[in-house]
Symmetry: C2
Subunit: 428 residues, 2 copies
Amino acid sequence: MGILIKNSTIITQNEGREVLRGDVLIEGSRIEKVAKRIQEKAEFILDGNGKLLLPGFVNAHTHVAMTLLRGYADDMELDEWLNKKIRPLEKKMRESDVRAGSLLGCAEMIRGGTTSFNDMYFFMPHVAKAVEESGMRALLAYGMVEGGDEEKGRMEVKIGEEFVRKFNGKAGGRIRCAFGPHAPYACSSSLLKKIDGLSKKYKVPIHSHISETRKEVFDMLKKERKRPVEYLEHINFLSKRLIAAHCGWITKREVKILAERKVSVAHCPVSNMKLAVGGVSPIPEMLEEGVNVSLGTDGSASNNSLSMLETMKMCSLLQKHQRWDPTSINAQQALDFATRNGAKALGINAGSIEKGKLADIILIDAKAPNMAPLHNPISQLVYSANAGNVTDVIIDGKIVMRERKIQTIDEEKVVEEAQKAAIDLVNR
Amino acid sequence: MGILIKNSTIITQNEGREVLRGDVLIEGSRIEKVAKRIQEKAEFILDGNGKLLLPGFVNAHTHVAMTLLRGYADDMELDEWLNKKIRPLEKKMRESDVRAGSLLGCAEMIRGGTTSFNDMYFFMPHVAKAVEESGMRALLAYGMVEGGDEEKGRMEVKIGEEFVRKFNGKAGGRIRCAFGPHAPYACSSSLLKKIDGLSKKYKVPIHSHISETRKEVFDMLKKERKRPVEYLEHINFLSKRLIAAHCGWITKREVKILAERKVSVAHCPVSNMKLAVGGVSPIPEMLEEGVNVSLGTDGSASNNSLSMLETMKMCSLLQKHQRWDPTSINAQQALDFATRNGAKALGINAGSIEKGKLADIILIDAKAPNMAPLHNPISQLVYSANAGNVTDVIIDGKIVMRERKIQTIDEEKVVEEAQKAAIDLVNR
């Protein structure tokens, strides 16, 4: 039974990066078969003709509830933006705001072909609820900030641990949890060590911001006489359980350490450019050393979009531009970051179209004018496609969007409620 | 009579950059009235509720027929890309290929909210035909390359002049022509002077590539002991009739000269980043000196998209990134470049929603999840919107796209024919 998608151009993203024309059969939450022609009967048959079929995108770093703040403050200095506009509004946010913003962000991500995301914020049970309702897959972490207050640190860990205990594995396994120490500068070494222990105990990942800005690197050098990655290595915090967002201001020596410790990096080119952090993640050096590079949009307050299609293009263009080298980060590499590598970072058995993988699959209209002619489908995906080209989204074997209509949540209502919540929040 | 658009959020782009909720009445090819409530009867009434209404985008530098080559060659060194992949294919191109590529590009631009474009290529009568059929507005130039061959230069001018004579003012005035000397390095000073004279004679603009790459600047310094803009000033070629594409490698002194001569610049951030030319147009310095800055996508072989929404965002982000200054080029400035300034560059009486202006108007879905909440419509337009959010396009007072369906050309057929032409061209 299950779902059979016929006659699409399948961008498998398998080991050999095969592109083939054929059919894909889904049984339950997994891909059962990929072949030129599948004869088996199925409950639903989707016509994939004229469409590209590929693994859904994995957004490896975001704060989905911040979608509620999109466009509230732009074109400002990072400190002013964060401390005078974003943080004061966040302090007034209620659980219902986090829910409204998360549902809005999920709707946007589904429309853009994102099937999984890696999130860090507060009121996380309400983010989890949005994930459950929308049908998405996510790795969720409560963002812990100690800020030199040990008592606060203990409370933060308590909230984070409770969230992991209650929500890890929920929504039929679509929700997994992580620990989210905000950043090395926001947590003491003893807190970080405690978190690392909890991550081992619960067998869940850690999600943190590392070396996003030049300031945090210089502050750490002053305080610890080490750069952030060197410091984290020194306190024995680095492991393959860590997803390190940004890593824009790191040295070659730090790249080597990340590779040795098998840390996954979530590079956020659009947010980095918009906030003008200046640093550019040394992606080619990371690849050379064998670091698992994934891509994130960051929150919508600093992007202001959750489009992974845009992020793939900007990842490639930023490296080309920065290095005066148009051969740097080709389309296939950018697509790998957003699919295979993202799934690996989050510990999800997805990211390619192969038997046994989770059925997180998207279809893209290859006959839209902006996608033609189809000299090279990978190039069209990375350099030409936009979110409007995504037609169908399947997550965990369920049809979440069909012919551009989201099936799981009432999109109109989600937008209306987010709009109301946003106005109320600003006027509160 | 005419068209009445009710109840939209009007981003007027007028002198005061007013945003107001209300109605717009179109009579013939022009805007007749903009007001909170219009009672006049009209032939067509469009419900603009939940939509942003704004001037259509002006793509100030492209080669629309190159849409046929989109994705054919990427991630290569500029010289190799141009001389080993693009030029050999262009040599095999036929008139029917230029027509197919142009129609495809027009369909994509309409879908992305672009109402006018500034083009330079060959077999230009076939580009003109695509403009006429699609309902778009364009400034078209035959691209002239002399390459040290005086006889060839004379032939090129002949073709260019004949095109201007035959096509300027066609399609009810939607087509205007320009002279297109490819670049200062491709034409002798005597040819450039001749072209300047013809531009005066026919009262039409000049469209040229200026200082796109570092190499052309150093070659010019070697040959003429002057940088390109200084050289063009020296031979008295600069005037308000000139639209200078790129200007990525220019000095502050050259910015001053461009301002004094009232030259319009067409900045192409996405193409510049993708080809890794390294130089970044000094936009804040241009604004300070009073240069008219507009935006272009460049051709789809080097972008690979004709989306002006993407180009606005990248224009802002590239300046922020390059200068470590998140306040550089705000959303309103980027929108100005893509509307008011573009219209000024091309000499079109459009670019704002005001009585008497040409009715080149687009509607954008403000209730799509990626556009909510609407804290700031300008920010959402520039940083969050994608081509899929454009719902309706009116050009010269005619409805060219209605609820995402193009009215003027058979989109499916256009895509199919472009696909066929592309395959045939590559295999020729």
